[in-house]
């Protein structure tokens, strides 16, 4: 038996490529690719977090972009007030405060919406998570203080000890390490006793309940963990783009996030990262040809759903055995 399966190889090679290529591009003066890679890695974290509940838990959350938005606004709002005054309680450039806010607000939002959504099943769950995501979208759209629809420019990035987020290299480094940690975290959780229950409930909820598991609580816990991780991705994204708007939470963003997971391969370690990478690259390439890039992109999406079972990682698995 090989020590490393084909899927394992793809994972390791992919992660090595992500570690080496973007810094190389930056150092050779092609900052554009570094930007692309940073976005890709941050969305990768969000996709990895969604995969925990979607891939391993069978919870099709169609509102995960809300967490990204909440995380980003947790940077933007305190930073805005630190610059322009008001809301003294949180007005600050302190990155640790931003981080605590991002994680805390995401956790709270996940707890409340999850507690309600998880009482439902199937299509109801898909639609209700989508609706809650949209609720967050409309909430921030209605907040004129933060420019509503037009969004907010972050003038000063989060100030963290030891790391300067104004440096593209350091921001990328933080994002990359965060991605690795997120992947390891999900892997650990999935293999733990908690993870077994989560996967069991995905496969056969009635059986799990009959065995004595209150699967509702386990799912809720997973939903909150996933939301918090996604909020963290939002914290990074806010610092990366330095511009945030309700559009980050729009349901189409949530749809894209789901697509990344499915495209790469749900319930695999590297699938979501592969998915977000291919997604961002294809988006970039298509949009450089035409402003109507959504058309071929949509066709591709339909094609993937119709023809690629198990996502891109599934292609490797198929031949491995």
């Amino acid at each position: 038996m090989n020590n490393l399966t084909k899927v394992g190889w793809v994972t390791v090679m992919g992660m090595i490529a992500l570690a080496i290529l973007p810094p190389y591009f930056l150092l050779t003066g092609q900052a554009f690719y570094m930007d692309l890679a940073t976005r890709l890695v941050i969305l990768g974290i969000a996709a990895v977090s969604l995969n925990l509940i979607l891939g391993f838990g069978g919870m099709v959350s169609f509102g995960h972009a809300a967490f990204i938005g909440l995380g980003a606004y947790a940077v933007g709002i305190p930073s805005y007030h630190a610059t322009w005054g008001g809301f003294d309680l949180i007005a600050s450039y302190n990155g640790l405060l931003h981080l605590v806010l991002a994680l805390g607000v995401s956790a709270l939002f996940a707890l409340i919406t999850g507690a309600i959504s998880l009482r439902t099943k199937g299509v109801y769950f898909i639609m209700i998570t989508m609706a809650f995501g949209q609720m967050a979208f409309f909430l921030f759209q209605s907040l004129d203080v933060y420019n509503g629809d037009d969004g907010l420019t972050i003038d000063v990035r989060s100030e963290l000890p030891f790391i300067n987020l104004d440096s593209p290299m350091q921001l990328y480094g933080l994002s990359y390490i965060s991605l690795v940690i997120a992947m390891l975290l999900v892997k650990t959780i999935v293999n733990s006793r908690f993870g077994m229950v989560l996967q069991g409930a995905k496969g056969n909820n009635e059986r799990m309940v009959t065995l004595g598991y209150n699967t509702y609580l386990y799912r809720l816990a997973a939903y909150v963990i996933s939301g918090v991780m996604c909020g963290y991705a939002g914290f990074l994204l806010g610092n990366f783009t330095t511009f945030i708007s309700p559009d980050m939470m729009h349901w189409t963003r949530s749809g894209e996030l789901m697509f990344m997971v499915i495209l790469g391969g749900a319930a695999t370690a590297f699938g979501p990262v592969l998915g977000s990478s291919v997604f961002i690259l294809v988006e970039e390439i298509l949009s450089s040809f035409t402003i109507f890039w959504h058309l071929p992109f949509g066709l591709m999406l339909i094609g993937v759903v119709l023809f690629i079972r198990g996502g891109l990682m599934g292609l490797f698995k198929g031949k491995g055995k």
């Binding site: 650990t188 733990s192 006793r193 908690f194 496969g203 056969n204 065995l211 004595g212 209150n214």
Partner: protein, 247 residues
């Protein structure tokens, strides 16, 4: 002696169909109590109300003297009730041993444990393996459940019920779809459990029922028409007419 399980005035109907009609029943600790009855008599529905999967319309269920009528299914499992399913209900995408291990893990405290790999916890894995050995599935431990045959699925249902270490096992037609040899093996096996576990056994296979049961209740159209020793049931005119006579 107070019964382990007491069912009192249990009623359940689906729309116009009365599936459980004022059922009263005691199950004594340690006995194998069989429930027989024609198709559609309401046997599965009765089990579902005992396990907590279905809510009764009326009546009470008492376990060890405490009322569990309004307890959700997971809480009843914690109190010592397990059930097997007439139509195999396992986690198909998982391996055989993982399935059984989940049953063991359910009795091993809560599972909000995120760090230690579940498959490395020998306490749990060993117990799961023992259950598999008992039903003779140990060689297939690492296969996916979906790769197993129907007969093996039936054995797994038993292994899972065993592994959960519940005091009261509700077995819904464990022999369904098994060949004669497999059935005989299962009868031997359940005989071996006598006295250790309390079993409420639903079964169409009359040879198995009369070989195993300490007492038998006959359910027809949602009503219990007779309860008694196997010999009494065999001799009961109403039962012969309503049920055994059909064969």
């Amino acid at each position: 002696m107070a019964p382990l399980l007491n069912i009192n005035g249990l009623c359940k109907s689906f729309g116009g169909v009365i599936a459980t009609d004022d059922v009263n029943l005691d199950v004594q600790k340690g006995e194998i109590h069989a429930i027989i009855g024609p198709n559609g008599a309401g046997k599965t529905t009765l089990i579902a109300q005992l396990s907590g999967a279905l809510r009764p319309d009326a009546g009470t269920v008492t376990l060890n003297g405490s009322d569990i009528t309004h307890k959700p299914a997971y809480a009843r499992a914690k109190l010592g009730i397990t059930r097997s399913f007439q139509i195999t209900s396992l986690v198909m995408g998982m391996t055989v041993i993982d399935n059984v291990a989940l049953a063991v893990q359910a009795n091993d405290g809560h599972s909000f444990k995120f760090i230690k790999p579940a498959r490395k916890i020998h306490r749990i894995r060993d117990k799961a393996m023992k259950s598999l050995e008992k039903v003779g599935l140990n060689t297939r431990a690492n296969d996916l459940v979906s790769a197993l045959s129907h007969g093996e699925h039936r054995q797994m249902e038993i292994a899972v019920a065993l592994a959960s270490e519940a005091e009261l096992m509700l077995l819904d037609e464990p022999m369904a779809g098994l060949g004669a040899a497999e059935s005989a093996k299962l009868v031997d096996f359940l005989t071996g459990l006598k006295g250790q576990r309390t079993i409420l056994l639903i079964e169409h296979d009359m040879d198995a029922v009369f070989a195993l049961a300490d007492r038998i209740s006959v359910l027809v159209y949602g009503r219990i028409i007779a309860t008694g020793l196997p010999s009494e049931i065999r001799a009961n005119k109403a039962v012969r007419h309503a049920y055994l006579g059909e064969e």
